[in-house]
C-alpha cells in the first residue's frame, strides 16, 4: 500500500509526463476512419505529431485548428468550424475527434457549446461523420486522462444508449493506452480462441502496426469501426484494462447496462489467470491448448527468470496504470521497487503499487532516487539519467523513439509476461556480466 507523495518542486526538470491532448489524440487513432483534431495553435499539433511519428515510425493523421493571434482574441469557434468542414470535405472521415489544448481552455471557451452549434448548423454537411469532443487542457492530467476522456467521449457520443439484444459471443474490451499493438492483437486472438467476438476500443493494432495501406489514407485505417461502437450495448460483458478505463466502462454500463470487470493489469501469472477464467466463464468454453501451453512456457520462464530478477532494485517512472502493471509484476518475481515516480496523483492504481511511496514528479526525481538501483524502467527520455547513473534502462511507455519494434513487443497475457521476463533478465545479464573483473 503505497503512500502517494505529491510534487515538491515547482519546476519540472526533465518532465516525465506528456500532456493530455496527446493521450486523447492517441485514443482517437484507434478508431477506424478517424482524424484527431487538436484545437489550439498549430505548434501543439506539429510537435505532438512529430513525437507520435517518432514513437510509431509511422505516418500519423493529426489535424489542427491552427489558432492564431486573432482567433485567440475573438475565440476559436470559427477556426474550429472551418477545420471541421475542411476535414469533412477533403478526407470524409468517419470520426473527427477534437482534443482541446491549453490555449482554448485557458480562455475558458465553451468548446462543447461550439461543437454543438457546429453540428446543428452543419448537420447536413456532416452526415456520415461523427464529431466527438474531449476536453483535455494541457494543464491537467496526462496521457492516461486524455486517453480515458477520449474513449469515454466516443462511447457517450456514439454507443446506442438503450438496452438491446445481447449477443452471448460478443464482448467489449477497453484497453488502456499502455498496451502495444502486439498486445491488442494478442488480446483479440486470445478472445477469439475462446470462440468470442471481441470489440476492442480503441484498437490501435490496425493503423499503427506498420503495415502499408494500398491507397493513400488521410485518416486512420483500421481500428474500431463506428458500427461496432454503436452496437457496444449488444455485448455480454465489458472488460476494462487499467484503472483509467473505469470511467469509459462505467459510461458504457450507464448507457447500455453492459456490466464490466476491471483488470488493473494483464501482466503477471495471477492477473492473466484471472483474465483467462473470465474468458472461460463468459464463453462457457474450455481453455484452448495453445493458451495452456503458453502458460506452461511462462511458468518455465518465471523459474528461469526469477533468479535474475530476485532482489533487484528497480527505479520506475510511468503513468499510474503502467507503473502498477510493471511494479506489481516485478515484485511478484522477487524484485523490489526502490523508487516509483508517476505523472499525476489521482489514480486509485497508485496506492496498490508495491512501493513505500509513489512520488508525483519528474525524471529528475527518478534520477535522484535511482543511483543505487539495478534497473531503471521508464520511457526513452530516461536514457540520459540512466547514462549519467550508469544504471541500465528498460524502456516502457511513451515516448519510445530510440528503439525499433516497441509496438511489436508483447507485454500482457502469458506470452507477453514471458517476453517481459526475457527483456528484464537479458538487460540484467548484459549489464552484470558473470566475471565483473577486468579481463
Amino acid at each position: 500500500m503505497a503512500r502517494v507523495v505529491s510534487q515538491t518542486k515547482s519546476a519540472a526538470v526533465n518532465p516525465l509526463k506528456s500532456s493530455q491532448p496527446l493521450g486523447a489524440a492517441f485514443a482517437f487513432l484507434g478508431v477506424d476512419g478517424a482524424i484527431p483534431l487538436l484545437h489550439g495553435s498549430q505548434g501543439c499539433t506539429s510537435f505532438a505529431l512529430a513525437l507520435l511519428v517518432r514513437h510509431f515510425n509511422e505516418a500519423i493523421p493529426l489535424q489542427t485548428t491552427a489558432m492564431n493571434e486573432a482567433a485567440i482574441i475573438v475565440g476559436g469557434a470559427d477556426r474550429l468550424e472551418e477545420a471541421i468542414l475542411s476535414l469533412k470535405a477533403r478526407t470524409r472521415p468517419r470520426l473527427i475527434g477534437i482534443c482541446t489544448t491549453a490555449s482554448v481552455e485557458a480562455r475558458d471557451e465553451d468548446v462543447a457549446g461550439d461543437v454543438e452549434n457546429i453540428k446543428r448548423k452543419r448537420a447536413i454537411e456532416l452526415v456520415g461523420t461523427e464529431v466527438v469532443l474531449a476536453n483535455t487542457p494541457d494543464f491537467d492530467g496526462a496521457i492516461e486522462e486524455g486517453w480515458s476522456k477520449a474513449v469515454t467521449a466516443v462511447i457517450e457520443a456514439i454507443a446506442r444508449p438503450d438496452k438491446q439484444y445481447r449477443n452471448p459471443r460478443k464482448i467489449a474490451i477497453l484497453p488502456g493506452w499502455n498496451l502495444t499493438v502486439a498486445d491488442i492483437e494478442h488480446l483479440r486472438e486470445t478472445a477469439v480462441s475462446f470462440g468470442l467476438d471481441p470489440v476492442i476500443l480503441p484498437d490501435v493494432s490496425g493503423a499503427l502496426d506498420g503495415s502499408i495501406p494500398e491507397e493513400w489514407m488521410p485518416t486512420t485505417y483500421g481500428g474500431t469501426k463506428l458500427e461496432e461502437i454503436r452496437d457496444l450495448g449488444a455485448t455480454m460483458q465489458c472488460i476494462a484494462i487499467g484503472e483509467h478505463m473505469r470511467r469509459p466502462a462505467e459510461a458504457l454500463q450507464r448507457l447500455t447496462g453492459v456490466p464490466y470487470v476491471l483488470f488493473r493489469s494483464l501482466t503477471g501469472l495471477e492477473n492473466v489467470d484471472r483474465f483467462i477464467r473470465v474468458l472461460a466463464a463468459v464463453s462457457c468454453k474450455q481453455t484452448p491448448l495453445n493458451v495452456r501451453r503458453n502458460r506452461m512456457q511462462l511458468q518455465d520462464t518465471m523459474l528461469d527468470g526469477h533468479f535474475h530478477m530476485a532482489g533487484k532494485k528497480i527505479a520506475i517512472a510511468s503513468e499510474p496504470d503502467q507503473l502498477f502493471q510493471f511494479s506489481d509484476f516485478f515484485t511478484a518475481m522477487g524484485a523490489e521497487i526502490a523508487a516509483a515516480v508517476t505523472t499525476t496523483g489521482t489514480s486509485k492504481a497508485l496506492e496498490m503499487v508495491p512501493a513505500k511511496t509513489v512520488k508525483v514528479g519528474d525524471l529528475s526525481d527518478l534520477e535522484s532516487l535511482a543511483a543505487t538501483a539495478d534497473l531503471i524502467v521508464t520511457h526513452s527520455h530516461g536514457r540520459e539519467a540512466a547514462r549519467r547513473l550508469g544504471v541500465p534502462l528498460m524502456r516502457v511507455g511513451f515516448p519510445m523513439f530510440d528503439r525499433f519494434g516497441s509496438q511489436h513487443k508483447l507485454t500482457i497475457l502469458y506470452r507477453g509476461t514471458r517476453d517481459v521476463i526475457f527483456d528484464f533478465a537479458n538487460i540484467i545479464q548484459a549489464n552484470h556480466p558473470p566475471n565483473p573483473w577486468p579481463t
Binding site: 515547482s10 518532465p15 496527446l22 498549430q42 485548428t65 494543464f139 488521410p218 540520459e384
Partner: protein
C-alpha cells in the same frame, strides 16, 4: 561545377493544376499563390541581393484543418534560437505539453557536463496546473527560478520561453525577470514567443532575436580583448556537429570565431558578439534580424555564406576572405587547394552512383536553397524545393540556386507534397520526420534534412563526404528493389499489395 540540366516545366505546371483542382474554389485560389515554378536561372553564389523570378506567396497564416509542417513561435524561439545556448536554462513556461513534445527533437551537439554546467538536452518547465491558469503563474515562475538557481548553481542564466497560455492570462513575466535577475545576479530573459503569435516558427525567431537585443546586449561589462580577425558565426545550430566543421575551415583561413550562434554556444559568446568585425550568417531566416541590428547599432557588416558542398564552400571562403584582404585571401587559396584532392576523391567515388538522380526537398531555414549545389556537386538534380516557413526574401534567394522549371512549394500540405512526389517520383526526398514515413511507404528513398537523420555534420569538406555517403546509402540501398508480393497474381481476389505507387 555548375551542373546543367532541365526540369520539365510543362509537367510540373500540370502537377500544380491537378493538385489545385481538388480544392474548393476559394482554397484553390489561396493555395495557388504558394505553388510555382522557377522561370529563369541565374548563376548562384554571386550577387546575394539579385531579385529572382522565383516568387511564391509565403509567410501566410495556416488554414484550419489543413495540417502543414510548420511549428509555432515557441518552436522558433525555444527550439531554434535559444535552446542551443548551453550554459543557460530555458524554461518552457506554461503547461507541460510543448516542451515535452519537442524534447530532443533537434541534435544540437555540444560539449559540457550536462546537468552541471550545460543543459541542452535537459528539459525544464513550470508545468502549469489549472490553478496557475486561474490565478496567474508569476508566483510559480518566481519559485521555479529560485529552485533552478539553487539546483544548478553553475548555470549562467535563464530564459523564459512563453507558451500560449502566458499571453492569455496576463502574467507579467518581464517584471519577474527583472526582479529575479537582480536577486540572483544573473541574466533572466523573458521571451514572448507564445505559439499563437505569427504564422509559423518564423516570428519566434524574430522575437528571440529581439530578446537578445533587449535583454542581453550591453548589459554587462565584458572582459574581452577583440582582434582584427574576429567573426561571429550566426545561425549555425551545430546539428550533428555542423558548426564545428565550419569553424575548422574559418580558423584554417586565419579567422577567429569568437561566437557561434547558437550551437554549442555560451551566453558569453552572445554577449561579446558586438565586438566582432564581421557576422557570417548561415541561417539567414532565423538570425537576419539580430545581424541587421548589429549592423545598425555596432556597424558590424554581415554576409551570408554556404558551406554545403565544395562548389559553395570555395565561393563562400573566397567571398569571406575578400573582406579581410590579401593575406587571408592567400591563406584561403591554400586551404582550397589543400582540400581539392579530397573533394575529387569523394566526387569520383559517388558521382557514378548518384549522378542524374532527381531530388525533391522540403525543409526549413536556409536549406531548401543552400543544399542544392551540394547535390549538384554529386551530379544530382533538384526537381522541386520549398520552405516550411520561408519569406519572400527566401524565395528570392532561391532563384539563384534552382534551374528553370523547378517546382516551388511554400508551406506545402501533406496532401500536396504527396501528390507532387507521386507525380514526379524523384529518386530522393529530403524533408522532415513527419514526411519520412509516408514518402518511404511510396517506395522512395528519404533523408531527414533537418536533423541529418542522426548523421552529420554536413557542413564543410568533412561534412560533404558524409553527406555524399548518406545520400548514396539512402538511394542505393538494395531495400528499394523490393519484390512484388508472391501473391500478386491473385491480387484481385484478396486484399494486400506490395507498395502503393
Amino acid at each position: 561545377m555548375s551542373l546543367k540540366y532541365d526540369n520539365d516545366s510543362d509537367f510540373h505546371a500540370k502537377l500544380i493544376a491537378d493538385v489545385l483542382s481538388q480544392y474548393p474554389g476559394k482554397a484553390a485560389k489561396r493555395r495557388s499563390k504558394h505553388l510555382s515554378l522557377a522561370t529563369s536561372e541565374k548563376d548562384a553564389g554571386e550577387d546575394p541581393n539579385a531579385i529572382s523570378e522565383c516568387e511564391v506567396k509565403s509567410n501566410i497564416k495556416s488554414v484550419p484543418g489543413v495540417m502543414t509542417i510548420r511549428g509555432c513561435a515557441y518552436a522558433g524561439s525555444k527550439g531554434v534560437v535559444w535552446g542551443p545556448i548551453k550554459d543557460m536554462i530555458h524554461i518552457s513556461h506554461g503547461p507541460v505539453g510543448c516542451g515535452q513534445y519537442s524534447w530532443s527533437q533537434r541534435r544540437n551537439y555540444y560539449v559540457g557536463l550536462t546537468g552541471i554546467d550545460t543543459f541542452v538536452t535537459m528539459q525544464f518547465t513550470s508545468d502549469f496546473q489549472e490553478k496557475d491558469i486561474v490565478f496567474g503563474g508569476d508566483k510559480k515562475l518566481e519559485k521555479v527560478i529560485d529552485e533552478i538557481a539553487e539546483l544548478f548553481p553553475l548555470s549562467n542564466g535563464i530564459s523564459l520561453q512563453s507558451e500560449c497560455p502566458i499571453g492569455l492570462i496576463g502574467d507579467d513575466i518581464e517584471a519577474v525577470a527583472r526582479k529575479k535577475a537582480k536577486e540572483h545576479t544573473t541574466t533572466v530573459v523573458p521571451v514572448r514567443c507564445e505559439g499563437f503569435r505569427g504564422v509559423s516558427q518564423s516570428l519566434g525567431h524574430h522575437i528571440a532575436n529581439d530578446a537578445i537585443r533587449d535583454w542581453v546586449f550591453d548589459k554587462k561589462d565584458l572582459e574581452f580583448e577583440p582582434g582584427p580577425y574576429d567573426v561571429n558565426v550566426i545561425g549555425d545550430y551545430n546539428i550533428g556537429g555542423d558548426a564545428w566543421a565550419s569553424r575548422i575551415l574559418l580558423e584554417e583561413i586565419g579567422l577567429r570565431v569568437v561566437g557561434n550562434w547558437s550551437g554549442d554556444a555560451t551566453l558569453a559568446e552572445v554577449e561579446r558578439a558586438p565586438r566582432a568585425t564581421l557576422n557570417l550568417i548561415h541561417c539567414y531566416r532565423s538570425m537576419n534580424y539580430i545581424s541587421r541590428h548589429m549592423e545598425e547599432k555596432y556597424a558590424i557588416p554581415w554576409m551570408e555564406y554556404n558551406f554545403f558542398g565544395p562548389f559553395q564552400i570555395e565561393a563562400s571562403l573566397r567571398n569571406i576572405a575578400k573582406h579581410f584582404g590579401p593575406e587571408i585571401e592567400d591563406r584561403t587559396e591554400t586551404v582550397i587547394a589543400k582540400y581539392r584532392p579530397f573533394v575529387s576523391a569523394v566526387v569520383d567515388k559517388y558521382w557514378p552512383r548518384l549522378s542524374g538522380k532527381r531530388v525533391m526537398l522540403y525543409i526549413g531555414g536556409l536549406r531548401p536553397r543552400h543544399v542544392i549545389t551540394a547535390y549538384e556537386d554529386l551530379g544530382m538534380e533538384i526537381v522541386g524545393t520549398g520552405y516550411e516557413f520561408g519569406h519572400g526574401d527566401d524565395y528570392q534567394r532561391t532563384g539563384h540556386y534552382v534551374k528553370e522549371g523547378t517546382l516551388i512549394y511554400d508551406d506545402v500540405t501533406s496532401y500536396e507534397l504527396e501528390k507532387f512526389i507521386e507525380g514526379i517520383r524523384p529518386d530522393l526526398v529530403g524533408s522532415g520526420i513527419k514526411e519520412k514515413y509516408p514518402v518511404q511507404k511510396m517506395g522512395i528513398p528519404f533523408r531527414q534534412m533537418h536533423s541529418w537523420d542522426y548523421s552529420g555534420p554536413y557542413h564543410g569538406y568533412d561534412g560533404f563526404s558524409i553527406f555524399a555517403r548518406d545520400m548514396d546509402m539512402a538511394i542505393n540501398n538494395p531495400v528499394w528493389g523490393l519484390y512484388d508480393a508472391p501473391w500478386k497474381n491473385d491480387r484481385a481476389s484478396a486484399g494486400g499489395s506490395s507498395m502503393r505507387t
